[in-house]
């Protein structure tokens, strides 16, 4: 189904048309706009076109052109066209050229759309406008219009049969390559891989690659976080194991230490028991010995008991010795006594006067003698003799006196001594049994008896001594103070009783110690540790050493745990983030696939289209050529690319250029291409108006007539504008212009008039 677009009216504030309004007749013939050079013909049709398509301010030519179209009146550059669109509805499109703003009003229902109509804009409004324009006019890009139905002045020679003509026929909505480029650009923003899988991708990562990188980084972080947990667990276990071992060892050490005291106590108890047993033995032995000694003593005493009265004193032999001496002395003294008793008595002592008397006598004798002899010698002798005799007598007397004295004193002494001896004897005999019968004669007997008694006494003494020793020993053993009184046997009994008591105490202590030992036996020791202090000490040392090592291991593991084993990120949190990111990545991937599919869809669809429409285009162009030239030119053939198309001339195919075509033929061919392409566009269903500026240039009248006939034929199917200054040609063709533009100083003439006057 096709529909024709028609311009109906234009109101201008554009260039030389400061405030012009032109009604455009609806007819099935070309609308002719005529006027001399500079009358604004081109400006008028340009306004029609530019009102719809605008100016691309990025292009210098467009910028310059727009600048030149500022109304000479100084008003804002604007234009408004009314068209009947390809959808059959009437539209008014108003454009403000200053900012490119357009307003599209449906004259049927009054609906309005306004927005950015800048052809360079890619925003939603501009795209929407172009979409609306394509729906109304069939085309949205001025390039497409100007390369087909809109033949600008002097642009006919640019006409070429090219692939773009096929691309234009994208429903009149845009260049396929541009569409694919847009898709590729959008794809490029998503990923660096080539959109069609061919060639090298971009080096700079795009969103997909960035997402992949981010996912890879997250996975690496996750692996690190998991790895931390992976080897944190063993570290924690190592710490726990080391700490647990330390605790175990502490318990064991505690048990061992707790056991050590009891074990030491046990040892002490055992030692104590040992001591007690030993002591018990000692005490028992001591007791036994005391009792034995006591028994022995008793036995001996019983065996050798001598009546008291028959017991010789211990020093009997000494006594005997002394007695013997006493007796001997006594005898001697008695002899002395006797002798002394026989000693001169008093009366036996010459009196004192004897001596002198004698002396005197002698002297006298002597003297007498002397006298007598009448020598002195006799006197001297007598004297000497007197002296000597006197002296001798004196001496004798003295001696006798002395002797008597001595005897007296001796007697005193002797008697005294006898008394003493008697006393001594008595004393010595005191205690000697049957002392009265003791005499030297009985000495031996007595001695023997004494010896016997002494031997008995010795035995008893020995037994006593033994007993005493035992008692002393027992006292030492019992640590008792020696009694001050009592007999040995009493003492022995006392000691025995003390020993018994001590033994009883020992037994009690032993029993208690045994009970304590039994209690100590409940100490719990680790397996393999003997219940001895040495073993426990050794086990303690071993375990303390092990504990130090375990403590070190625990601290080392804790340090490693702190330094390396504790992660900084939660793997769960990273996984959550990864899930989100993978979802985002999947969305990007989908968009990538969408764009790749869209790219391929356009390519494949266009390929389909091209395969079908290429021939149709060639056919349309060929038909136009044939129609235009009366068959002299045509058909168009393009076995290769369209750019290498050839045209049939006089039965042969020649290149589409001049030469080999003549100038006129070439122009006719170009026009045929335009018309053919335009006919080809008719498939879109929308036939935009054809505008031909100065079509008759370079054509002779015959060609001009042929062309006019062609244009009229075209006008039966679409609106055609013919802009020309060739008034003579128009006159020759009998064509009356619909709009006649005067020279710039004048105003537009009504339709049906020409600058030269009414049409013939």
């Amino acid at each position: 189904m096709t529909s024709t677009v028609r311009f109906l009216r234009v109101e201008l504030g554009y260039g030389c048309h400061g405030a012009g309004t032109f009604e455009i007749p609806e007819k099935d013939a070309p609308v002719v706009i005529a006027g001399p050079n500079g009358s604004g013909k081109t400006t008028l049709v340009e306004a029609l076109v530019r009102t719809l398509f605008g100016f691309d301010r990025r292009q210098p030519a467009d910028r310059d052109c727009l600048a030149a179209r500022v109304p000479w009146s100084g008003d804002r550059c604007r234009a408004e066209v009314e068209i009947r669109g390809g959808d059959g509805r009437r539209w008014r499109v108003r454009r403000e050229f200053d900012d490119g703003h357009v307003r599209v009003v449906s004259l049927d229902d009054g609906s309005t759309w306004a927005g950015d109509g800048n052809p360079a804009s890619a925003n939603q409004e501009a795209l929407e406008y172009r979409r609306r324009l394509a729906g109304i006019f069939g085309l949205a890009e001025i390039e497409h219009y100007e390369s087909t139905a809109c033949v600008a002045q002097g642009r006919l020679l640019d006409t070429r049969l090219r692939e773009e003509l096929l691309q234009i026929e994208a429903g009149g909505y845009g260049n396929v390559d541009e569409a694919r480029a847009r898709v590729a650009k959008a794809h490029e923003a998503l990923t660096s891989r080539p959109i069609d899988g061919a060639g090298r991708g971009k080096t700079k990562p795009r969103r997909l690659e960035s997402a992949d990188s981010e996912i890879a980084r997250l996975r690496s972080r996750l692996a690190s976080a998991d790895a931390v947990l992976g080897w944190r667990a063993p570290l924690e276990q190592e710490v726990d194991a080391a700490r647990a071992r330390v605790e175990e060892l502490d318990l064991a050490i505690g048990r061992l230490e707790a056991a050590l005291a009891p074990l030491n106590g046990r040892r002490a108890l055992e030692s104590k028991i040992q001591v007690l047993v030993e002591r018990q033995g000692v005490v028992q032995a001591s007791r036994n010995r005391v009792e034995r000694a006591s028994r022995q003593l008793a036995e001996i005493e019983d065996a050798v008991a001598v009546p008291l009265g028959e017991r010789y004193p211990a020093d009997f032999l000494e006594r005997l010795g002394r007695l013997e001496w006493l007796w001997t002395r006594q005898a001697a003294l008695r002899a002395d006594r006797d002798r002394l008793n026989a000693a001169p008595r008093e009366a036996d002592i010459p009196p004192v006067w004897i001596a002198p008397a004698v002396a005197a006598v002698l002297a006298a004798i002597g003297a007498v003698a002397a006298v007598g002899m009448g020598s002195a010698m006799p006197a001297m002798v007598g004297a000497a003799l007197a002296i000597v005799v006197g002296t001798a007598l004196l001496l004798h007397r003295g001696k006798r006196a002395r002797r008597r004295e001595e005897a007296l004193s001796r007697k005193q002494v002797v008697y005294g001594e006898l008394d003493r001896i008697g006393e001594d004897l008595s004393r010595e005999m005191d205690g000697i049994p049957r002392a009265s019968t003791l005499s030297p004669a009985t000495l031996d007997e007595r001695r023997r008896a004494f010896e016997a008694q002494r031997r008995a006494a010795e035995k008893i003494d020995a037994a006593r001594q033994a007993l005493e020793e035992e008692l002393l020993d027992a006292a030492r053993t019992l640590d008792a103070a020696p009694p001050t009184d009592g007999t040995l046997q009493d003492l022995a009994a006392l000691r025995a009783a003390q020993c018994a008591a001590a033994q009883e105490e020992i037994r009690t202590a032993l029993a208690r110690a045994h009970v304590e030992v039994e209690n100590l036996a409940a100490v719990h020791l680790p397996d393999g540790v003997d219940a001895t202090p040495e073993a426990v000490e050794a086990a303690l040392a071993e375990r303390r050493k092990e504990r130090r090592a375990a403590e070190q291991r625990a601290r080392a593991a804790e340090t490693r745990l702190l330094q390396e084993g504790t992660g900084h990120e939660s793997p769960v949190a990273i996984r959550d983030e990864l899930v989100l990111l993978e979802a985002q990545r999947a969305a990007i991937e989908r968009e990538v696939l969408v764009h790749e599919a869209a790219h391929a869809l356009i390519r494949d669809a266009y390929q389909e289209f091209r395969e079908h429409d290429r021939d149709r285009l060639l056919s349309a162009v060929s038909r136009s050529l044939v129609d235009l030239t009366g068959g002299r030119i045509g058909p168009i053939e393009a076995p290769g690319s369209l750019a290498e198309a050839t045209v049939g001339v006089s039965g042969r195919q020649v290149e589409l250029r001049s030469p080999p075509l003549s100038y006129g033929e070439f122009h006719a061919a170009l026009f045929g291409i335009r018309l053919g392409a335009s006919d080809f566009h008719a498939r879109s269903g929308i036939r935009p108006p054809m505008i031909v500026d100065e079509p008759f240039a370079y054509l002779d009248l015959e060609r001009a007539r042929d062309l006019w006939r062609l244009l009229c034929a075209v006008a039966r199917e679409r609106q055609v504008f013919v802009v020309t200054q060739e008034t003579l040609t128009l006159d020759a063709l009998g064509v009356v212009p619909d709009i006649v533009l005067p020279a710039l100083s004048g105003s537009a003439l009504p339709a049906g008039t020409s600058p030269s006057g009414p049409a013939p």
Partner: protein
């Protein structure tokens, strides 16, 4: 009778990246909503507050988040409402640095790998809370360490872990697994759980007997999958009765899942926007899936933007089938490139091996037509 405020998975500091340009505002809103807890506790006159993990989104939260938590907890405690906290997966105490190494306004935090008990007297009676901080490396079966103390009062277990229906169940040992049977066997009056972001009251745990457990759900929607009620629960425990659980929404705008919205026949995107908007509850953020055959190639981003202008945020998934529209029928009739695109595009949609490929082909058709300037 004792009344407890049980919340979990606040994730203060979360990026909210799913909310795009609205992420910043939503993060701030989350913090503000958290600060409103003391007033909420007062309104329900709760006796204590239980926080079941993931209070923070990261192990090293920002100063603002930490200050807000400390201040909020301090206010709760000053009001006579003790606060009990267990770490979660995101703010795990097993990490090198974690937010629980510093005081948090007086809250009682459980940091050991096995159950510890902390007791307190409340106006509702004695409360015994048993909590732990999961550490796989030190104790991978911590539930076995639970032992109810022989004390009068209410016994509550506080755990951050995943039940069978939770996504984290599949993670493995990194997350604490809570088999329903093991939960049910805990001899306590209530099990306050965290980790699963959906609200799951006791009656939805299955199992007629045993300890009643509850997930309060996340405090606010953190991504676009978290539609439905978000906030916390108020739990009433009474001797001889099952716990009564009531959900309370936080003041963070919730995501409203509108499900599918039929945009068949819509001629322009604004009409699509209107069809979605008329179904959105006040204060909610719409999440919708467009279906039907519109007469316009729906621009999901444009529609989302327009809805975001009205509601603050919107997420639109376009599953509409523009390719079947009358408009494309008309284009398909033309022997133009666009017509070929439509026809070929439709064939490819029909021949797609699965729904995913069909959706891609649908979207490719739209992109192609848009690139050609058709739509």
């Amino acid at each position: 009778m004792i009344r407890l405020l049980h919340l979990a998975d606040v994730h203060l500091g979360a990026s909210m990246s799913s909310f795009g340009d609205a992420a910043d505002a939503r993060r701030r809103r989350l913090l503000e909503a958290f600060r409103e807890l003391p007033e909420a506790a007062r309104a329900d006159d709760v006796h204590a507050v239980l926080v079941a993990g993931d209070l923070f989104d990261r192990p090293e939260p920002g100063a603002e988040e930490k200050a807000a938590v400390a201040e909020t907890f301090a206010r709760l405690i000053r009001d006579g409402r003790p606060v009990f906290v267990v770490p979660g997966n995101h703010d795990s105490a097993t990490l090198h640095r974690h937010p629980y190494s510093e005081p948090l306004g007086g809250a009682r935090v459980f940091l050991g790998p096995v159950f510890e008990r902390q007791s307190t007297e409340t106006a509702g009676g004695p409360l015994h809370v048993y909590g732990l901080s999961y550490d796989m490396a030190r104790e991978d079966a911590p539930l076995d360490s639970y032992a109810r103390a022989d004390l009068p009062g209410f016994h509550v277990a506080l755990l951050h872990g995943s039940a069978e229906f939770s996504p984290h169940w599949r993670i493995g040992r990194n997350a604490l697994r809570l088999p329903l049977a093991a939960l049910s066997a805990l001899a306590c009056d209530y099990v306050a759980l965290g980790d699963y972001h959906g609200f799951r009251p006791p009656e939805r745990f299955g199992g007629a007997s045993g300890a009643p457990a509850c997930y309060p759900g996340s405090f606010a929607a953190l991504d676009l999958t978290e539609t439905g009620p978000r906030g916390w629960v108020v739990v009433e425990l009474e001797d001889g009765s099952l716990p009564r659980v009531r959900h309370r929404p936080s003041s963070v705008p919730p995501l409203q899942d509108l499900g599918t919205v039929d945009v068949g026949g819509a001629a322009h995107n604004e009409a699509v926007v209107d069809r979605v908007a008329e179904r959105v509850d006040p204060g909610a953020l719409p999440v919708a899936r467009l279906v039907g055959v519109p007469d316009v190639a729906v621009d999901a981003e444009l529609v989302s933007r327009r809805l975001a202008e009205r509601f603050g945020f919107a997420r639109i998934e376009d599953a509409s089938t523009f390719h079947a529209s009358a408009r494309l029928d008309r284009i398909a009739e033309d022997d133009t490139v666009a017509g070929h695109v439509v026809r070929l595009g439709r064939r490819r949609i029909a021949q797609a091996p699965d729904q995913g490929a069909a959706a891609i082909a649908e979207r490719a058709l739209r992109v192609a037509l848009h690139a050609l300037g058709v739509t």
